[in-house]
Symmetry: none
DNA sequence: TATGAATGAGCGTTCATTCAT
DNA sequence: AATGAATGAACGCTCATTCAT
C-alpha cells in the first residue's frame, strides 16, 4: 500500500475524499467504503475519527464553512461603505469558489439537508447574523434597498450560487466585476 | 382496501408520493416501499410503470418541469417589452411555487443530480434555450444588460431560488412585486 | 432454490434454525446469515418477522418456554401429593428434554443472558412463581424440606440440568425413575 | 500512565480483565480492546502472551480450574468417610465461589462452549476422574447411592450451580450447611 | 394486472488482529 | 517489549427489485 500517513494528514485525506464524493454524488449516494478508498485508508479508520457517516458530513461542512467565514472576516476588518463591503465579499466568495469549487458546491447543496446537525446550522446562522447587521446599517444610511435584510442576502447569495451552478466558472476579472455590479444593482437603494 | 384506481390515476398517485418524499428527504434517503405505501399501491406496481427508482425520479422531474413550462408558455403568448415579459415570468414562477412548493423544491434541488437522465436535462435545456432567445433580443434592443444571456438567467433564477430556499414563502402581492423589481434592477440595462 | 414455504412454516423454519445454532454455538457466535442459510431463506426475510437478532433469540426463548409450561400445566391438572407432583414434573421435564434437547439446552444456558428482554424473563418468573406456591404448600404439610422454596427449586432444576449437560441422555425409564428418586431425596422432608 | 508492570503481573491483569468481561457479557460479546483497556495495557500486548482471543479464554479457564482443583486437592489430603469428603468439598466449593464469584460463574457457564480447546476440557476431565474414583469407592462401601458415579457428580454439581445461578449467594454458615445436608441426602445410599 | 413477501447485494459499522512506531 | 492506530473481513441490517400468488 501507500506509506502510512500521519494522523492529521489522514484526517484531512478523509475529509477531502468525503468532500469530493458528497459534492459530486450526494450524501445518500456515497458509500463509506468509497470515501475510504479515495482517501487511501481502510474503512474502519474513518470511525476512529468520527462516529458515523453523518458526523463526517458535518465535519466537512464545518471545515469549509469555517474557512470561508475566516476569509470573509479577515477581508472585512476595515469596513467602509456598503458598496465597498459588498465588492469585497463578492470577490472573496468568488475567489474562494474558484479555489475550492467542490467545497462551495457542497456548502450550497447540503445547506438544508437533514443530516446536518444543530452545530453546523448554528455556524451558518452565526455568519448570516453578522452580515444581516451590516445590511441593516447600510439600509439605515440609505445605501441599500429597504426590506427584510435576510431576503436581500438570500437574493444576492442565490444569484451567486445560480451563476456557479450553471457552470460559469473561470471567468475573467473583468467579467466577475461586471457580475458583481449587476448584483449590486439588485441590492442598492433605487 | 380502497377501490382500485385506474391506471393513469395510479401513476399520478405514485408520482405525487415520490415528489413528496424525494423533495423532503432526498432521493437516496427515500425507499421505494415508502413511495408505494404513501401512494397506496403495492411496491411491485411501481415497476409496472417505471423500470427503476431512477426512472421514477426522472418522471417526477419531467412531469413538473413540463407543467411549469406549459404555464410559462401560455403566459408569454403575446410578447411585449422585456420588462413585461420578466414581470409575467416572475409572477408565474412565484405563483407556481406557492401552489406546488414541493415540486419547485424538487426541480431546484435535484437539477444537477446524477440520477437525472439526458432526456430530463434536455427538457431543462429546451426551456432555457427559448428564454435565452428572448433575452438576446431584449439585449439587442437595449432593454437588458449586455453579457452572456445564460448568466443573466442564472442570476435571476438563482435569486428566485435563494428567496424560496431561505424560507420566504407566502409573501404579500406587494412584497412579491417589490422583489420582482429588485431582480429586474439586476437584469435591466444600466 | 427450494419451493417457497408458506409464511408460518417459514417462521418456524427460522426459529428452528436459530435454536439449533444458538444452542450449539451461542448467541454472539451465530451470524444472522447462518440462521438464514440453515432455514433456507434469505437473510432479509428474517427481518420481516422480527426486528433484530435479539428479537429472534427472545422469540425462540418464549416459544420453547411456552411449550414446556404448557406441558407441565397440562400434566399437573389433578394435583395430588407433593411426591406425585414432583414425579410428574420430573418425567415431563425429562421427556421434553429427550424430545427437544436443543430447546432445553437453549432455555438453560441462555436463561440469564443480557439479550433476553423483560417479557422473556417475566415468563420464566411466572412459571417459577406457580411452582413456588406448590412447594410452599408441600412444606406446610411437612412433605418437603423446610427453607426457601426458591432454593429447593434451584437445586432440583440444577440437578436435572447437571445430568443433561453432562451428556446423560437416552437413559432407560428405570434409570430416569431412579434419578428422580435421588432428587426427591434431596427435596423431601428429612 | 501507570508504571509498566512486570510481565507476570501484566498477564494476570489481562486474565483478570478477561474474566470479568467474559463472565459478565459472554465471550462473543466482549471485544479484545475492552479487555486491554480494563487491564490497563495496549491491545497488541495481549497478543504477545496469547495467540488469539480464544486462547485468552482458555487461559482464563485453566487458570481458575487449576486454582479450584488445587484447593480441593489440598483439602482432601487426609481422606475420611464419604460423608466427610463431601462436606469438605461442598464447603471448599462454596467458599471458593464466594471469594471468586466471577471465576465460578465463568467456569460453569463456559464449560461446554465451542471456543474451549481440548486441553481445557482434559483438565476438567482429569479432576472429574479423580473424584469419580472416590465416589466409586464410597459406593462399594455402601456409603453412597449406587449407579453411574458421573451422574451422581453431575447432580451434585448441578444442584450447587443451580443455587448460585439463582442468585443465592452470601448465605450464612448455617444455611450453607443445611444445603449441604440436602444435597448429601441425594447422594447418600438410601 | 396488482400485490407484497422474499430476496440478496450492498450498506454502515465493529472488532480481532497486525505492525509501524 | 509494548503500544494503539490502522486494517479489512465480517457483522447486523436495509431496500431496490423480483416473482409466486
Amino acid at each position: 500500500m501507500s506509506p502510512r500517513l500521519p494522523s492529521p494528514e489522514r484526517q484531512e485525506a478523509i475529509l477531502d475524499a468525503a468532500l469530493a464524493l458528497f459534492s459530486e454524488r450526494g450524501f445518500g449516494e456515497t458509500p463509506v467504503p468509497a470515501i475510504a478508498e479515495k482517501a487511501g485508508v481502510g474503512a474502519g479508520t474513518i470511525y476512529r475519527y468520527w462516529e458515523s457517516k453523518q458526523d463526517v458530513a458535518n465535519a466537512v461542512y464545518r471545515h469549509w464553512k469555517g474557512k470561508l467565514h475566516a476569509r470573509l472576516t479577515e477581508a472585512l476588518v476595515p469596513l467602509d461603505s456598503a458598496r465597498e463591503i459588498f465588492r469585497v465579499m463578492w470577490h472573496v466568495n468568488w475567489n474562494f469558489a474558484e479555489e475550492h469549487p467542490m467545497a462551495v458546491k457542497f456548502l450550497e447543496t447540503h445547506h438544508h439537508e437533514s443530516y446536518l446537525d444543530d452545530e453546523s446550522r448554528a455556524m451558518s446562522e452565526e455568519g448570516l447574523g453578522k452580515i444581516e447587521a451590516v445590511v441593516r446599517r447600510a439600509q439605515e444610511r440609505g445605501e441599500m434597498a429597504p426590506g427584510n435584510p435576510r431576503i436581500l442576502l438570500a437574493m444576492a447569495n442565490g444569484a451567486f450560487v445560480g451563476i456557479r451552478k450553471a457552470g460559469f466558472v473561470g471567468l475573467s476579472d473583468r467579467e466577475v466585476a461586471e457580475l458583481e455590479e449587476r448584483v449590486w444593482a439588485m441590492l442598492a437603494a433605487p
